[in-house]
């Protein structure tokens, strides 16, 4: 390593890389929650193998958390550019509705149907991307349009009905959300592949650098020759792609396309996961693994509450607390005003 060859006067302390520091809090919170369950929830860590598949609460968390984890991947990149994508829930509904219509009702081959669904999702993303990058509409507003209209489009596709596809004529579509691979639920495998692909796509190319630089300072990036518009356009397309995949899993999970409820409020969970994962809403540095851990944390919290026989409806309440705590911990003003005395004493 050509390190410390220069005449820099300051010492170069061995520090953890930035991403490790950012992961500390979510991982710690997740560990605490798991530890609480280890003590308080009987059988929480039990795993059993039936028909060669693993079952247990931990597997459930991975399985049920898959949708938000996938959404969070796309959302991370969008938020890193300083934007936000409110339309992912509606895009999920469109994906589910379209899949049910073409693959189940019109009996297209699975591959063709999949291609059409994902293609339409890319178009939806391009729509968002165009509004944000070309027409320079604020991201909240731009994606609000699709959030409102998208669900209407999904209902239009299914004629407002819930379309169920329980019959075994669509094994591939049902496998997406219910199958198993290597003993694990198939959605978990999809998450793993998507995460790996996203990390490769952003960190093995310069896309990650461009996304962070655009989110951190768009003007300076533009002046440095970064194609800020293209970068922004691309992240919305990618986010809609993730939403499409999550929408297919959601429909497959319940073996039905429910345009009214598919993905409802999941955009908010995804945003929450991204913020827990350490990516600031103002853009800049992003942490994909952190976002996935954030999604896991949300799902673990949900599962914990379920297993404690508390009404599932109460789940928003602890979520609200998590949002506030995470925001406060990340807020410089909070650290300055509240934490400072403690930090100083510790130092």
């Amino acid at each position: 390593m050509p390190e410390d060859t220069g005449l820099r006067t300051l010492p170069s302390p061995r520090r953890l890389p930035a991403w490790a520091g950012k992961l500390l809090w979510p991982v710690l919170a997740l560990a605490l929650l798991l530890a609480f369950n280890a003590v308080a929830t009987p059988n929480f860590f039990n795993l059993e193998i039936r028909d060669g598949h693993l079952y247990g609460s931990l597997i459930d968390i991975l399985n049920h958390g898959a949708k938000v984890m996938i959404l969070a991947l796309g959302m991370t990149l969008v938020i890193a550019t300083g934007g936000v994508d409110l339309s992912v829930g509606a895009v999920m509904a469109i994906a589910g509705a379209l899949a049910a219509m073409v693959i189940h009702v019109h009996a297209w081959p699975f591959a063709a149907g999949l291609a059409l669904v994902l293609g339409v999702c890319l178009l939806a993303g391009a729509w968002n991307g165009m509004l944000v990058a070309v027409f320079r509409v604020q991201p909240i507003v731009a994606t609000l349009i699709l959030m409102v209209a998208g669900r209407g489009v999904a209902q239009l596709l299914t004629d407002g009905k819930i379309i169920t596809f329980t019959d075994p004529a669509n094994p591939a579509l049902i496998f997406l959300g219910n199958g198993h691979l290597l003993g694990l639920p198939f959605p978990v495998a999809i998450v793993a592949v998507m995460l790996a692909l996203t990390v490769l796509l952003t960190r093995r190319t310069a896309l990650g650098l461009f996304i962070e630089s655009v989110g951190d300072n768009e003007t300076a990036s533009h002046f440095s020759g970064v194609q800020a518009r293209s970068v922004k356009f691309m992240v919305y397309v990618f986010s809609a792609f993730c939403a499409g995949v999550a929408g297919l899993i959601a429909a497959s999970n319940i073996k039905a396309a429910d345009s009214n409820n598919a993905g409802l409020y999941l955009e908010l969970d995804a945003i929450l996961a991204v913020v827990i994962g350490g990516t600031a809403l103002t853009g800049g540095r992003f942490y994909l693994v952190g976002a996935v851990i954030g999604a896991l944390l949300i799902q673990t919290l949900t599962t914990t509450i379920f297993m404690r026989d508390v009404s599932a409806h109460i789940i928003p309440l602890p979520k609200a607390l998590v949002i506030v705590i995470v925001c406060l911990l990340q807020s410089p003003a909070f650290r300055r005003k509240i934490m400072a005395p403690f930090v100083r004493r510790a130092a």
């Binding site: 936000v84 509004l131 027409f135 320079r136 509409v137 604020q138 909240i140 507003v141 731009a142 609000l144 349009i145 699709l146 959030m147 409102v148 209209a149 998208g150 669900r151 209407g152 489009v153 209902q155 239009l156 004629d159 407002g160 345009s259 908010l268 945003i271 929450l272 913020v275 809403l281 103002t282 009404s311 409806h313 109460i314 789940i315 928003p316 309440l317 602890p318 979520k319 609200a320 607390l321 949002i323 506030v324 925001c327 406060l328 807020s331 410089p332 003003a333 909070f334 005003k337």
Partner: protein, 441 residues
């Protein structure tokens, strides 16, 4: 020569044109569309959204956003419904001479310790206690407030609703039963319990409504404080507020609570309306909306607070340097929005006679934002009109009405709303750019 009004009025003008156009088109196309009755009905249908959107207007004018409004509507509706008196009245056959009983005696009757009317000063007749089914709210209330933890005796008979109670009691000379506090016990004798008409717990309507409004204020103020003191993004804080209020609504009760209090059933619908002759009247919800609108207009245009809201939305930094009390104003803005949402929750209880933790205010945050934007308020803040918001709300109402008249599917509402949003946002964009260009030259 100036043909166009100043740029900032262009969106408002467009809103007025759309509203007028929709109305005229509807009135020409459909019979009864243009009638006063339909107009009033449309306004009434949008009253709740209107009330909430007025609060959202101030938030958006200041450059903020409030995602909590729908959930606060649900929570405050639940608070009203849950705080109103609930309980049971105790009934016997009309010919039973006993008309007084104490709560202790009642408990002993149902616990199987008092078994004959003679012990209560009546005829020598065996007491046949009847109870509502398990898990009914009347049963829960009775167990809680009368039995105080003691179990019912084995011989107590279970029936499934109030009318079955009535039938059973009427058909059994020694029977005693209880029905919901608001059940009309015609053809039955009612026992006074400790000198009251029933066993009931709760607040009078005014107090219940005050409690709901206070809750809305408190949530709004809390969010405002988080946003101001810790410089958190409004988007996230109000998202947390939305989760908090939804969750809290479910903590009160996991299902919808019906409201049977005569104030909400009768007074609100019959006494607190402005009759217009014929069948027509201005309902309370519309009166509330119009009163709030008038107050909001004054607040926005004739008070320092209102002008500070515009200033903060125009340039928060300048407002701070001008010493406009940015922090205090911001907290007040979110408090006001919380109050408006709470009023929306109260209007919900007027209109639907229930509190509903799930359905109330569902998606209203977005409808409110859409109404504000369509009403000509710039989402980046600083420019906009409270009156425009009312027009935006009415446009959404007219679209719904047209879709009903056309008899097409309701999801077209969402798609058309999305398209309208798009059109107005692009118009705003265009106007902003045009005025910037004008400034340069």
């Amino acid at each position: 020569m100036r043909l166009l009004p100043p740029p900032k009025y262009v969106p408002l003008l467009a809103t007025a044109l759309v509203l007028g156009g929709l109305f005229v088109a509807g009135a020409f196309r459909y019979e009864n569309f243009g009638t006063l009755g339909n107009v009033l009905g449309t306004i009434r249908g949008q009253a709740m959204l209107g009330v909430v959107a007025i609060g959202a207007t101030f938030v958006i004018l200041s450059g903020g956003i409030d995602l909590s409004v729908g959930a606060v509507v649900a929570l405050t509706g639940m608070i009203v419904a849950a705080a109103l008196p609930s309980g049971v009245q105790v009934v016997v056959p009309e010919d039973n001479p006993v008309r007084q009983i104490t709560r202790d005696q009642l408990r002993q009757v149902y616990a199987g310790e008092i078994t004959n009317w003679k012990q209560l000063g009546g005829p020598d007749r065996a007491i046949v206690p009847v109870t509502r089914e398990l898990a009914s709210s009347a049963h829960d209330s009775f167990m809680k407030h009368v039995m105080a933890g003691r179990p019912l005796a084995d011989r107590v008979q279970y029936v499934n609703d109030d009318s079955e109670v009535k039938a059973r009691v009427q058909g059994e000379a020694g029977a005693i039963g209880y029905v919901d506090l608001y059940y009309a016990p015609r053809g039955l004798g009612r026992l006074m319990i400790d000198g009251e008409h029933g066993v009931q717990v709760g607040l009078n309507p005014a107090l219940a409504i005050a409690m709901a409004l206070a809750a809305g204020l408190a949530i709004g103020a809390g969010m405002g404080c988080l946003i101001h003191f810790f410089e958190l993004p409004a988007f996230l804080v109000t998202l947390a507020g939305m989760f908090f209020a939804r969750g809290a609504g479910f903590v009160i009760h996991t299902r919808s609570i019906p409201i049977k209090h005569p104030f909400f059933l009768r007074t609100v619908n019959e006494d607190l309306v402005i009759p217009l002759g014929g069948h027509l009247e201005i309902p309370l919800a519309v009166i509330v909306l119009l009163a709030l609108l008038a107050a909001a207009l004054v607040l926005a245009h004739w008070t320092r607070f209102g002008r500070n809201v515009y200033a903060i939305g125009g340039s928060e930094n300048s407002a701070r340097l001008m010493g406009l009390g940015v922090g205090r104003t911001k907290i007040l803005i979110y408090t006001l929005a919380g109050l408006c949402s709470a009023i929306g929750g109260v209007v919900w209880t007027f209109e639907l006679q229930s509190g509903d933790p799930l359905q109330a205010g569902l998606g209203m945050e977005l409808d409110a934002i859409a109404a504000v934007v369509i009403g000509g308020t710039l989402l980046s803040g600083g420019v906009g009109f409270v009156a425009g918001t009312l027009m935006g709300v009415l446009i959404l109402g007219l679209i719904k009405a047209i879709i009903t008249f056309e008899n097409i599917n309701s999801w077209w509402t969402k798609i058309i709303m999305g398209m309208l949003l798009l059109a107005f946002i692009l118009l705003q964009n265009f106007v902003t750019k045009a005025s910037m260009r004008r400034k340069k030259t």
